[in-house]
Symmetry: C2
Subunit: 449 residues, 2 copies
């Protein structure tokens, strides 16, 4: 396969070619390492590139197997891993300067599953410090740039994973999502981001921020590629419920109205609604009655700060730990909250979750934008509302996907979001794929460079 | 409170007394440490007792709080932790001799939540080596005895937790459940054992055996106590679904027929069915059609051995690691399986899970025995069928509870099991409490000694 074809093949098609002997893992790795060598430094998407280990793994995959066993579902597919997920033998800092030199001995559970599926791990991606934030302007390792527009944020906290995927520096990537940290950068970078039903991907080996909300998610250039990586890392037990192929015709989709978003994003959502109606879905307007999104977002942030203060108690207690003032302020605020105040925040999150449960009695899926705004330039104020549309899925453990939905007039990616009831991962992915077919793909210029 | 009253108060009542200032955490800890001093060695339920740290924590809880903040829901309640769950500063071997001296720096996520709830941690409990097995005849740390009958197994792999709870050496305990490892020892020891919906309790800091099936569970002397501990460790997100108080009247219960169990256990199940009918439940017979329990159990064992071989690859590769021949054989068998063979086992587990999903369309709960047999003497052959009735809940991630249901003619505890649909934790616990009220409690003689 020529290099363009390797990138074009993404995850599913590349693995099929490697399994069929029409492509090699070594060639695939060489193509991606070459692209990292050419574009990686400019984007600063990777904190560490594991070129030699990746080549060794690829060579082993390309060798004829003595037992004749077939290769796995991600055969030879080069993937990137957010730096808060442990990869045995690679530094894992979670974007925290004080954790330089931390090298775990074991893979995170989801990373181990990727290896079992015969994927190849290219390296660790840039992220917000401690996964706290959504701009990926990392004070220790430098900012990661948006592949559509240098000096714009890729979003965060999984910014490096989104930028690497969108720019074709990895076939797909793992991220983590506490309040929206997979879907926000996917939306800003114009790739697909998927946060599964809570509990369906193991979080062992993920550096926690807020254990009660943290989840592992997937970023890829297509919904099918996202689904394939999710399938490799998901709990086998959770697969039972979603085994059937969902039927979109007649499915009820609620388009969430009354949101305060940029007009071009609202228009992209309306286009998506029309596309889903053309697929046979029953599309109607709905409202998030009784849900104050700004309050829900603040409640999510408060429980994150309170739990994060416990997780990072040592860094917080040590004035010389070097954590940024922003992280110190956030965690310090969390540490100062009373048990009652945190309980009130949880009650608000649970109330929102129950209201969404009620909506899922009427609608199979909810359609809304992923973010209220497109990517913004570094240096301009970070909008407080970044996670206001993503936090709901974390509060309720609902599966949610961000799918590219065209360009703004400023040529920045727009993203729409689908949220489903817990356990409806197959449905969310199928509907996401239908949107993608209707809306098209929106690659950054550098994907062809 | 006098010592008997402290033991009698269990979890919920003890915490209420401590919060109300009518009992102190120090007194509660002293009562339990005294019982451990008198009975612990004979039972060998604890691998480590953290007397001094427990006293320090209790003293801090009893001190007036400067900020006037109320104590947490498990205020001053002395708990025991299975040795495969990390407690910061205490040795954590998971029953594996080679891991002597392993002392984690951080609490497991669920243990951290117990501390947040103001519980006191008494120590680490005996278990089967690597949580592989259900007899708690540990080759490195010695066997744990059944408090109802010395020289009988307490069951496993959470045998030490069950024995400690049943004998009144802890108010409640955490265990882990991969194929039945919480419910089997609860049944054998005559205490309550609860395995929640998969994903509702975080597994970070649990030494894995089979990541795809491992779950954290709770053992206590009453269902209400079990529910209180579960409430403290469960994910706040999962609490939204179960917030309502379930109504038992009119609820449909399927009594699983056609099982090969000891006649006294079948009779106890029938008595429980009658009791639930008296509570207003609609009780009818049902069959596990298309489910071959022995095959499901073997499939669960195979995937456990295959994943366990990866987790413990270093111990398996090192001939001098000192792991028992039984563990070496089991993990070696797992390591030798092809990807296809493991995939077939998963397909069988998922098929069983889907068949239970279908039953849950007709029945809110399934009632069946926990184990086909009562506790057996050490030295007699371990019945292959031990986990045959518990594995289903692991295969599907269903919540399941074992509740004491009287005595065998040989004066050994009998246990019944309730299984619910995923997310129906509140219902399973409420129905378990109804069974307990109808059936009574069955304390071992030594609880009063």
């Amino acid at each position: 396969m020529d290099p363009d074809a390797v990138i074009e093949a993404g995850v599913v098609e590349l693995a099929a070619q490697v399994r069929a002997g029409r492509a090699t893992a070594c060639d695939a790795v060489a193509v991606y390492l070459d692209r990292i060598a050419r574009h990686g430094a400019a984007l600063n998407a990777f904190l560490a590139v594991a070129a030699d280990p990746a080549r060794v793994v690829a060579e082993a995959l390309d060798r004829p197997r003595r037992d004749g066993a077939p290769l796995g579902p991600l055969a030879g597919v080069p993937l990137a891993i957010k730096d808060n997920l442990d990869v045995a033998g690679l530094a894992a800092t979670a974007g925290i300067g004080a954790l330089r030199g931390r090298t775990p001995e074991r893979d995170a559970a989801c990373v181990a599953r990727l290896r079992q599926a015969d994927a190849v791990l290219l390296g660790k991606t840039n992220m917000d410090e401690a996964a706290f934030g959504a701009a990926n302007d990392n004070p220790h390792f430098g900012r990661c740039h948006n592949p559509h527009r240098p000096d714009c944020t890729p979003g965060g906290s999984s910014g490096g994973s989104a930028a690497a995927v969108a720019a074709g520096l990895a076939a797909a990537a793992l991220g983590s999502d506490t309040l929206g940290s997979v879907r926000i950068p996917a939306s800003y970078c114009g790739c697909v981001g998927y946060k599964p039903t809570r509990g369906s991907v193991p979080v062992g080996g993920l550096m926690p921020l807020c254990r009660s909300l943290d989840e592992v998610g997937v970023l890829a250039r297509s919904v099918a590629d996202c689904a394939a990586v999710f399938d490799a890392i998901r709990d086998p037990v959770s697969r039972a419920a979603g085994a059937l192929r969902p039927e979109l015709a007649g499915m009820s989709v609620g388009v969430v109205g009354g949101l305060d978003v940029e007009p071009e994003i609202a228009a992209a959502t309306d286009r998506t609604a029309t596309a889903l109606a053309a697929c046979g879905c029953t599309v109607s307007r709905c409202a998030l009655e009784g849900i104050d999104l700004a309050r829900v977002r603040r409640a999510g942030l408060l429980v994150t700060e309170a739990e994060g203060a416990l997780v990072h108690a040592q860094l917080l207690a040590d004035p010389a730990s070097g954590i940024s003032q922003a992280l110190r302020d956030g965690l310090g605020y969390g540490a100062a909250q009373t048990r009652e105040r945190v309980a009130q925040a949880w009650e608000l999150l649970r109330d929102a979750s129950r209201r969404l449960d009620s909506l899922f009695a009427s609608f199979a899926l909810l359609l809304l934008p992923t973010t209220p705004q497109t990517a913004f330039p570094f240096g301009s104020p970070v909008p407080a509302s970044q996670a206001e549309l993503t936090v709901l899925a974390n509060a309720g453990g609902f599966p949610a996907i961000s799918v590219p939905a065209g360009w703004s007039s400023g040529a920045l990616p727009l993203g729409i979001q689908l949220i489903g009831a817990r356990g409806s991962d197959a449905l969310v992915l199928a509907a996401g794929a239908a949107c993608e077919r209707a809306l098209g793909a929106f690659p950054p210029a550098m994907l062809r460079a």
